[in-house]
């Protein structure tokens, strides 16, 4: 067991893993241990896929891997909700890797900003000052959870680059639209392109993150290459994948799942064990990859997914049962 001071967002001691257990999951540490380091990371990057800029990322000591036990990498890359590539959890890993091009990739920052820009994702990474690694809990609205080591940069840095005008109150994120590469889009299982939104103060919260990789490698296509949103205090569907446009707007954008079924999915989508989904309870969650084959591990779901200290102030005075 590690002897260390606990940060307030960390899990109880019982959920903390030993460093050696983590090493078996963490490829970068492993590569370092056998002396490959940066060279190994470069070898791992697939030059035709995703954003390769900035690797290897520096671990952010505020969100360390030693505090949470990362889910096995093969589960994070095999158990995906990415409806553009099928509604089955196993489908995106296959269907997102059949020629869908995520390199080169252009991102547009636009709307109510002083510095609208359209740039390559690797340039964006450079301008954002490179990438760092943060280990976050990830809670799906379907009542399962993972722990993922993300590589990327704070969303606040991107907001600073765009330099929003005072009228800008929200960010509207738009994902790619390419029905030829996306069986989900050609079959129309949702309204595409996928859209998500954040309030500006949510976007500049220290936790909000743009991920360009996981496990010290460029983002696999099925996880939302080359860049995606990560808001660990919200349900996973807020984490829009494969972003092509970020628009600064005055009015609250309508996110895809809310448009699809507003009685079940709202704009905020904050993790909240006391506000159930109409079809299931959100009080506890299945921890992916933990427990035995037939007896899965469950744990109580934490308010704001355990990030209450960082984000509760954003929602002061709001009725969270109505603003789900």
């Amino acid at each position: 067991m590690l002897i260390r001071t606990k940060k307030d967002w960390e899990l109880p001691e019982s959920a903390v893993t030993s460093e050696s257990a983590y090493r078996t999951h963490n490829r970068r540490d492993f590569l370092k241990a056998i002396g490959l380091g940066a060279a190994g990371a470069a070898l791992a990057s697939r030059d035709l896929l995703a954003a390769t800029g900035g690797f290897p990322a520096k671990a952010n000591p505020d969100f360390p891997a030693s505090a949470l036990k990362p889910t096995a990498e093969e589960f994070v890359t095999s158990y995906n909700n990415f409806y553009e590539f099928g509604t089955g959890k196993e489908q995106p890993k296959d269907l997102a890797n059949r020629g869908w091009k995520t390199d080169p990739w252009t991102v547009e920052l636009t709307g109510l900003v002083n510095k609208p820009v359209k740039l390559d994702v690797n340039d964006l990474i450079k301008q954002a000052g490179g990438i760092e690694e943060r280990v976050y809990r990830h809670r799906c609205v379907e009542a399962w959870s993972m722990v993922v080591p993300w590589d990327g940069f704070a969303l606040a840095k991107l907001v600073a680059l765009a330099d929003p005008k005072p009228e800008a109150k929200y960010l509207k994120f738009t994902s790619f639209l390419d029905p030829k590469s996306s069986p989900g889009q050609s079959s129309g299982n949702l309204d595409y392109p996928y859209v998500e939104g954040l309030r500006l103060d949510e976007a500049t919260n220290e936790l909000a993150f743009i991920a360009t990789g996981i496990y010290s490698k460029p983002m696999p296509n099925q996880n939302g290459a080359p860049l995606r949103l990560v808001t660990p205090w919200k349900y996973g569907f807020k984490g829009i994948k494969s972003i092509v446009k970020i628009e600064f707007v005055a009015a609250m954008p309508t996110n895809t799942w809310k448009a699809m079924q507003s009685s079940e999915y709202g704009f905020y989508a904050n993790v909240n064990p006391k506000v159930d989904h109409p079809r299931w309870s959100q009080a506890s969650e299945r921890v992916i990859g933990e427990g035995s084959t037939f007896i899965p591990k469950r744990q109580p779901t934490l308010m704001f997914n355990g990030y209450e200290k960082q984000v509760a102030a954003l929602y002061k005075g709001m009725d969270l049962a109505r603003n789900y």
């Binding site: 589960f75 109409p278 079809r279 009080a283 299945r286 990859g289 427990g291 037939f294 899965p296 469950r298």
Partner: protein, 219 residues
């Protein structure tokens, strides 16, 4: 056709066909481990058993209309020998589905059981599953010959018409389990719906032969 008919008449063959789908999850979990399944194996099992229960329920209900529509077709006759067995096994899969659900939700912490049932009765989609399950339970318990005798043929027949309610509720439950409508519901329950419509039309026709066949098939 004759070979298939002969095979389908055999209880052993039907038993094998009924048990095999239950063993299917062993493949992606143990034999050729698939990480998409391994991430949450019991959820996979839970879905698979629910799916199998629906398929068997929809399948067994096609037997009667098949016989009404094609009374002389050997395969329809062969299948109708196994109605009770297939129906009961459909319930068995629903039971396994429910068991998987209870283990999944409690993680074997039985103090959670009350909460799980509270959720099951307050969430309409789960309540519908629970009602379908209860119907199948009642039908299974009253399926032995002794129960038919005790109830009397007429009352038994009326009671067992509830199987159509169970099928409709199962179809709704299966569709509502997903965040977007799953097309599989259409191909599982669609053929049954078409056959039932065809059967009703056939039974309406004032053809004495068809009438008689339909009358027999009701039982």
């Amino acid at each position: 056709m004759a070979v298939l008919e002969k095979l389908l008449r055999s209880k052993v063959v039907i038993w094998i066909l009924l048990v095999l789908p239950g063993l299917w999850p062993l493949w992606p979990i143990f034999i050729r481990p698939n990480p998409s399944v391994g991430a949450d194996p019991l959820k996979y099992i839970l879905h698979h058993f629910g799916f199998t229960a629906c398929v068997l329920l929809a399948t067994v209900l096609t037997f009667t209309p098949l016989r009404v529509l094609w009374p002389k077709w050997g395969i329809a006759q062969a299948l109708n020998r196994h109605r009770r067995l297939v129906g009961v096994v459909s319930f068995a899969y629903a039971m396994l589905h429910l068991t998987a659900h209870l283990v999944y939700e409690t993680g074997l912490d039985w103090s959670q059981l009350g909460h799980v049932f509270e959720v099951a009765t307050t969430k309409p989609f789960q309540l519908v599953g629970l009602i379908a399950f209860t119907i199948l339970l009642v039908l299974t318990v009253t399926s032995p010959n002794a129960a038919i005798k005790a109830l009397g043929g007429k009352r038994w027949k009326l009671l067992h018409r509830l199987v159509y309610v169970a099928a409709a509720l199962s179809a709704y439950h299966q569709a509502a389990a997903r965040k977007v409508f799953p097309m599989q519901v259409v191909w599982i329950f669609g053929p049954l719906l078409l056959l039932e419509i065809a059967r009703i039309i056939r039974e309406r026709k004032p053809k004495p032969v068809a009438r008689k066949a339909a009358g027999n098939a009701e039982a």
